[in-house]
């Protein structure tokens, strides 16, 4: 964390751009020759704007949350601070991406019974053949894969975050690790009926989809190592056991029985564009852009999932994107002098 803070502080110093900390943008609207920005600390007029406010400003909670009995405490990752602040009793974690698996593990370690509702997920080992899996993503060029070379960009942009956790032990935190700790997996939460949570019976399939996709990813890494003569630099190829399906999974859970005291919604995040008074959102509230060039003159975006590359949302990954987006921005300024 300290390293990241230092990195950003140094970046601010090197660029020399004025940084206004603690300043919220409350409105951005178009003018004849650019944009008018209203902030908590005054007005700004500008010719171009780069929206880099991120993709995770608000937690997403499914509509069925409204049908959960009032006796159960509901939290989003934004409200969650630690296991000690939760009421006594069992926890139902909804979602098994990075946030869900990390919170489920932490809550289980605190001694609570934990159930995790699992839909489609991205399984990844923390280390593969002796290297961090992110080393492989980078070295093999997968992270550099461009947005205009991806078959199903829509799906790539909606991909859940991989089941990874950063720990000194570099432990893998997949569903096998969670079930070994005593966390109980159930299927995707489909509905609430008569005070009961109903879970999908398709758990086996989301497990095999995740296993198959991980296998394909590891095959890609192996092929890259072989092709580039890197087999000697890394440990031998390895494969991981398939996700274990419990002998019987529960299809429903009585939310009024007291078994579950808390529900943690780890069901994803979305950007917050309530301050954006420019008609550049699609029918689902997403920013309309082509590789970061937003559908409004002089308006740009950075740091969104697969904006221009698979690595677009990483601090390290933004460099190439920024260069290309700023090239376009400079061209816009030159053309509209």
């Amino acid at each position: 964390m300290a390293e990241v803070t230092e990195f950003i502080e140094r970046f601010a110093k090197v660029t020399g751009a004025p940084v206004r900390t603690g300043t919220n943008v409350t409105s951005l609207r178009p003018t004849d020759d650019g944009y008018h920005v209203t902030t908590g600390g005054g007005e700004i007029r500008c010719r171009t704007v780069v929206i880099a406010s991120g993709a995770c400003n608000r937690p997403t909670v499914p509509r069925l949350a409204a049908a959960v009995p009032a006796s159960i405490r509901q939290l989003t990752p934004f409200d969650y601070r630690g296991p000690t602040e939760l009421p006594d009793g069992g926890v139902l974690v909804v979602g098994a991406s990075a946030t869900g698996v990390q919170l489920a593990a932490e809550l289980r370690r605190s001694g609570r019974p934990v159930t995790i509702s699992v839909g489609e997920q991205v399984r990844m080992p923390r280390t593969y053949r002796g290297r961090d899996v992110l080393w492989w993503m980078d070295a093999s060029g997968l992270w550099d894969q461009r947005y205009d070379r991806i078959d199903d960009l829509e799906r790539a942009r909606r991909l859940p975050s991989p089941q990874l956790v950063g720990t000194p032990e570099r432990a893998t935190l997949d569903l096998n690790a969670l079930t070994a700790m005593g966390v109980e997996p159930v299927g995707r939460w489909a509905a609430v009926r008569d005070g009961r949570a109903l879970f999908s019976g398709g758990l086996r399939n989301v497990f095999s989809l995740a296993d198959l996709k991980m296998e394909r990813l590891l095959d890609t890494f192996d092929a890259w190592a072989r092709r580039n003569g890197r087999d000697a630099d890394v440990a031998p190829s390895e494969r991981f056991p398939p996700t274990r399906v419990p002998a019987s999974t529960r299809l429903q859970l009585d939310l009024r029985s007291g078994e579950i005291a808390t529900i943690v919604w780890a069901t994803g995040f979305r950007p917050d564009y309530r301050w954006l008074d420019v008609p550049v959102l699609d029918e689902k509230g997403r920013l309309r852009h082509e590789g970061g060039v937003v559908d409004g003159p002089g308006l740009y975006a950075l740091g969104l999932p697969v904006l221009r590359r698979r690595k677009s949302t990483f601090i390290y990954g933004i460099e190439d994107d920024a260069r290309e987006v700023v090239d376009h921005l400079a061209g816009h300024l030159a053309a509209h002098r």
Partner: protein
């Protein structure tokens, strides 16, 4: 991509997907069946018309389905049991999915066979034990596929066919069902 011939017009499906992205109202379909009691637990259900793409549609021909109970249920066995129709639907839907995904992925299929087993504790429907549910205890589908593909690719076909299956979804997730008297 089009060098394989599984008989699925994937191009038309992809075009439909693109067209319907911008026209959600045209994507609203209603499937219909009409049933008539015969005698005992025997009924006859016919299927012909449906609604979709903004208008009434019809199948090329009407299909007729007899449903009854077998002799071990002290019935005349004029047709399969209603719950067996769910197995028919699941097998047909997953098989269609395997063929479509294979076509889309350029995999030539030679044969696709499957068996579907639905385990059923009939104490539920008989009211013999209130802890036993009426429906299936569980359902198991086993595919035997001969294709120009690795085992991993075949497993991926089967996994993807479940992901996009209407019947798999209808069986594994609850559906809001209304039964009225006209």
């Amino acid at each position: 991509m089009t060098t394989v011939a599984n008989g699925v017009n994937v191009q038309a499906l992809l075009e439909a997907r693109d067209a319907l992205k911008g026209a959600p109202e045209a994507a609203q379909f209603t499937w219909r069946a009409s049933s008539k009691w015969q005698n005992g637990v025997h009924s006859t259900t016919t299927v012909r018309d449906f609604f979709g793409l903004g208008q009434e549609q019809s199948h090329k021909a009407e299909s007729v389905f007899e449903a009854d109970h077998p002799a071990v249920f002290a019935a005349e066995d004029n047709g399969i049991t209603p719950i067996e129709y769910l197995l028919v639907g699941l097998a047909a839907c997953l098989t269609a999915g395997v063929a479509s995904v294979a076509q889309n992925r350029g995999i030539q299929l030679r044969s696709v066979e499957s068996t579907v087993e639905g385990r059923h504790d009939i104490r539920g429907i008989l009211g013999a034990d209130s802890d036993v549910r009426n429906g299936f205890t569980d359902v198991k589908v086993t595919f035997t596929i001969d294709a120009d593909a690795s085992r991993q690719e075949i497993e991926a076909l089967v996994a993807q066919s479940q992901k996009r299956s209407a019947v798999f979804d209808a069986l594994t997730n609850p559906t809001d069902v209304t039964v009225d008297v006209a």
